[in-house]
């Protein structure tokens, strides 16, 4: 039901530009993540949609109804936007018990006592916190507080649920558990989730679409795997994926056949899958995902030296020196490698993204081959 649309939304705090000309459509029942480093404007964006922050300019519509328009002076208060909001520090009311915290919104909607009770019990069960219903927030652990906060937000059945880094105060194990929980909730509640995080892993695993932001600008808005496969620029390429993508600077040596010259006198051939216009001498950046760097004795494209090897059992991260560039490689399986050993590298699987060094934008994809 609720489709959320942002048109030319801008927010300034004094001279500081927090969000600049943001255009975005969040589909009904989507799970959208606003992702970016701290200070990129993602929380501000979320708060603007919820109505907690007033945009400087622009239009926001929820379910085709304009909730904010700087032109027409419309600013619908947050409680009328039918949204739920999960705060980073939970914002549980310290003077109310768990039960009261959850029931509060329903009381405001003038539900009957019985209905409230039914609903609260349902939520307590759903979030597995029934035994705490008469405790005060200060008597709960972080994870329990988190669940209470979620229950409180869900109580009124908002059609859109906004979450501001809800897992950042939890330890790694709990975070894992809550991720699964959130995904379940998204399915069960049938509502639209908008989720703010700076953790790319969370964004990748949870969302149906990722909105990557930097310095107030939206960089890329696409499903997470699309962002992963085809980052729109080096920033988004670098931000998603762990270990990070290898970004090798180089220049175009010749156009046909297309050959790149990389630092340390390395030459690699490139087969574009799509049409791209390149000139000889153009500075480029080659994006190579670590899992696409294969260590091979034979059929190798280039030579490299192993600098370090970090086996973790399921996979091993190998740091390599190719010419004058450093590369990460992920090798699956419980392997280990000798440091300082000379090996050959092959880039046979996967598609590789090519970026312009000056604009950092994606120029297109292709396959690598021996020069």
């Amino acid at each position: 039901m609720p489709k959320i649309e942002l048109k030319h939304v801008t927010k300034r705090f004094g001279k500081f530009l927090a969000v600049d000309d943001l255009n975005m459509i969040i589909d009904d029942r989507a799970f959208v993540t606003l992702l970016g480093p701290s200070g990129c404007g993602k929380t501000t964006t979320l708060r603007m949609i919820a109505g907690l922050e007033t945009p400087t300019e622009g239009i926001i519509t929820i379910n085709d109804k304009i909730v904010f328009s700087s032109e027409d002076g419309i600013d619908i208060p947050p409680d009328k936007r039918d949204v739920g909001f999960l705060f980073q520090n939970y914002a549980l009311w310290p003077h109310m018990t768990v039960y009261k915290n959850i029931a509060f919104g329903l009381e405001n909607l003038k539900w009957s006592k019985d209905d409230i009770n039914k609903r609260v019990v349902e939520l307590l069960d759903m979030l597995k916190i029934a035994e705490f219903s008469h405790r005060y927030p200060s008597e709960l652990s972080g994870g329990q507080q988190q669940r209470v906060a979620i229950a409180r937000t869900l109580a009124t059945g908002p059609k859109a649920l906004f979450m501001d880094e809800p897992l950042s105060n939890l330890d790694a194990k709990l975070r894992m558990e809550m991720r699964t929980e959130l995904k379940r909730l998204h399915r069960e509640t049938d509502s639209t989730f908008v989720y703010v995080t700076h953790d790319q892993l969370e964004a990748m695993t949870l969302s149906s679409r990722v909105c990557l932001m930097k310095n107030g600008y939206m960089q890329q808005y696409a499903p997470p795997l699309d962002v992963y496969r085809r980052p729109i620029n080096t920033f988004t390429a670098d931000f998603v994926g762990s270990p990070n993508i290898n970004l090798i600077h180089g220049s175009v040596e010749s156009v046909s056949p297309l050959v790149f010259s990389l630092p340390g006198d390395i030459k690699l051939g490139f087969d574009p899958i799509e049409k791209m216009n390149l000139e000889v001498g153009q500075k480029i950046i080659l994006g190579i995902r670590p899992e696409h760097v294969a260590i091979a004795e034979d059929a190798s494209m280039v030579e490299a030296t192993i600098l370090s090897s970090l086996p973790s059992g399921m996979e091993t991260i190998v740091q390599l020196k190719m010419g004058d560039s450093h590369l990460h490689s992920v090798i699956f399986g419980d392997l280990d490698f000798d440091v300082e050993k000379k090996v050959g590298l092959a880039f046979t699987s996967g598609k590789f993204n090519l970026f312009d060094e000056e604009s950092t934008n994606n120029l297109g994809q292709g396959r690598l081959k021996k020069a």
């Binding site: 907690l52 409680d79 909001f85 914002a91 009311w93 310290p94 003077h95």
Partner: protein, 600 residues
């Protein structure tokens, strides 16, 4: 437990500096607060030299006369105790409500809305707290007096032609207004601290859950700040309860009496026994307040967790009301904080009262040599040696007191926080706070009789400057220890432990690690005793001797003699000194009064 392991336990207990500090504080403060308390109790049962005649018993003997007269002697008890007691409660209660309403509203506006001129408002709003309270009463009379007492009409009547009603000009109403305004900054600081630290998300969460503004205020904001509000209420209550000068000046034209005016009469007159009973009752109420306060703040739904990401606060948009409200608030502030100063300045240049024509202006009271026909040949204040002496004494006293109270308070805060939860620490915490509850005048009176004679290694301190220092330091310790505890609680214990592991000695840890980190809070702990000392009267009024006279006692004397021009000039001097001192310290170190009181 074997004797040896006990000894070892004791040794390791003694090795920790904070334990030693706690024990020393326990003994010294116990002596300086509990002994006075006992002295008061003894005094309520004994015959004093001026009472021997009518009690008909020898001086110093045991008697129930005072208690009997105070509580069970018909109209005498009615007039000496019950009536003033009731008035005191009414005045204290209403002043509190006023202070919290005004201070709370300003605090909310400054911390939670997009009002303009925030810097101006928060700077100027503390002025009424810095000024000695009764000078505001004098300003009230300058403006609103009516023909009841005769003389020149107040400025209000001069400008509007409207004669103020008696209830408006004198008695309960102006006492409440003046005391309310005097303590409003105190409430402003305390409530502002809470609001600033309270996570705005708590309110936003309620808003998203369909609560309207009124519901949010009633169900979320108020309950959360309620403990702080109550604390504020209780603290202000115990201050207003023991205030003396304002009721003395504004009450007497319509003969409105409170407990302190009765206490002043009896302590300084022929019935000190009555006075000590009144003091004792005020202390009992104070202790009750303290216990109530602890009960409120120590309950299950602990509110100490209300420190959130304050950067998240979204300001309430006043929209169209923004500019008008700013204008209203600034106007109110100018009226309560600036205008009195202006009236002091103006009045100090006027020869015959009420005549504001230019020919009536004179610099006599500032730089004159003194005329026999005006004020017993008193020279103008800038060439008056006794005022210079008072000024030096005031500054010296305030600086020393603030150094002692600030340092001891910091150490106390450090030790109390370190051993939080232990009995000893709770005791010391209460002892450091206890002096706050003692009515200043009674506190002064007790120290007077306590240290009039030699006590052990302490020589007779009567009339000495050091008596003032001791009283001031003890009385203002609560302010400093509050900020000390605040500072220490904000500081993770690991920071000091990191120093301990590296083998840094305790003294160096304090001076090189802990103090620098919490510098602003600690310095604020020094600032508050300084300011309070500069404007304190009732605490010192019985203790000063001619060579130790201070500005406020001079000021009060001039006011009492009716030499208001001198009084106005001194008052201006005090306010200017304190305000500029506050501003300088604030600019240099970032410390300020509000940081000192913080969020207890």
């Amino acid at each position: 437990m074997s004797a040896k392991s006990r000894l070892n336990n004791f040794k390791s207990f003694i090795k920790k500096p904070h334990n030693i500090i706690l024990i020393v504080l326990f003994v010294v403060l116990g002596y300086l607060t509990l002994v006075p308390l006992m002295t008061i109790i003894v005094d309520t049962f004994s015959v004093h030299s001026s009472e021997a005649r009518f009690v008909k018993q020898p001086v110093g003997s045991f008697t129930l006369y005072h208690w009997n007269k105070m509580f069970a002697s018909g109209v005498t008890s009615q007039k000496t105790f019950y009536e003033p007691f009731l008035n005191t409660m009414v005045v204290a209660f209403l002043s509190c409500v006023m202070a919290i309403a005004v201070g709370g509203f300003f605090a909310w506006t400054v911390t939670r809305t997009n009002i303009r001129c925030k810097g101006f408002i928060s700077t100027v709003f503390v002025f009424p707290y810095i000024m000695p309270a009764w000078t505001l009463a004098m300003a009230w009379l300058n403006f609103f007096r009516n023909s009841r007492v005769g003389g020149a009409p107040g400025l209000f009547t001069v400008f509007t032609g409207i004669e103020t009603a008696n209830w408006f000009a004198y008695g309960l109403f102006p006492i409440v207004i003046v005391q309310g305004l005097h303590y409003a900054p105190f409430a402003y600081i305390l409530i502002g601290g809470i609001l600033r630290n309270m996570d705005a998300n708590l309110e936003e969460a309620a808003m998203l859950l369909h609560a309207n503004r009124w519901q949010i205020t009633r169900k979320i904001t108020l309950p959360i700040v309620k403990p702080a509000l109550l604390s504020t209420f209780l603290l202000v209550f115990s201050s207003t309860m023991s205030a003396f000068a304002v009721p003395a000046f504004l009450g007497s034209p319509v003969r409105y009496q409170v407990l302190t005016t009765q206490m002043f009469r009896t302590l300084n007159g022929m019935n000190p026994g009555y006075g000590y009973i009144m003091a004792l009752i005020m202390i009992v109420i104070g202790v009750g307040i303290l216990m109530l306060n602890q009960w409120i703040t120590g309950r299950r739904k602990s509110y100490t967790t209300i420190t959130g990401k304050s950067s998240n606060i979204s300001l309430f948009n006043l929209r169209k009301a923004r500019t008008p409200l700013t204008i209203v608030l600034v106007t109110v502030l100018v009226m309560v904080a600036i205008l009195p100063l202006f009236s002091f300045a103006l009045e100090s240049f006027i020869m015959a009262p009420g005549n504001y024509s230019f020919s009536n202006f004179t610099t006599e009271f500032w730089i004159g040599a003194g005329r026999a026909d005006i004020a017993n040949s008193e020279p103008g204040i800038l060439r008056n040696p006794s005022i210079w002496l008072g000024l030096t004494n005031s500054l010296k006293l305030s600086v020393i007191v603030s150094l002692i109270a600030g340092t001891v308070g910091m150490l106390a805060g450090y030790s109390i926080a370190k051993r939080r939860g232990s009995k000893l620490s709770t005791w010391v915490n209460n002892l450091t706070f206890f002096p706050y509850l003692m009515p200043s005048m009674a506190f002064g009176a007790i120290f007077l009789s306590m240290f009039a004679v030699r006590r052990g290694f302490i020589p007779a301190l009567y009339g000495s400057f050091w008596l003032l220092v001791i009283v001031g330091s003890v009385k203002y310790l609560p302010f400093a220890s509050r900020s000390g505890i605040n500072a220490m609680l904000q500081l993770s214990g690991e920071i000091e432990e990191a120093g301990t592991i590296m083998g840094i000695g305790w003294f160096k840890r304090m001076t090189r690690i802990i103090f620098p980190i919490q510098k602003t809070t600690f310095i604020s702990g020094y600032l508050l005793p300084f300011i309070s000392c500069m404007r304190e009267l009732s605490l010192f009024i019985l203790l000063v001797s001619p060579s130790t006279r201070i500005l406020t006692t001079l000021l009060f004397q001039y006011n009492e003699k009716g030499w208001n021009q001198y009084a106005n000039a001194i008052n201006l001097m005090i306010v200017v000194i304190v305000v500029s001192f506050n501003l300088i310290v604030n600019k240099l170190t970032g410390a300020s009064i509000d940081k000192g009181i913080g969020t207890n």
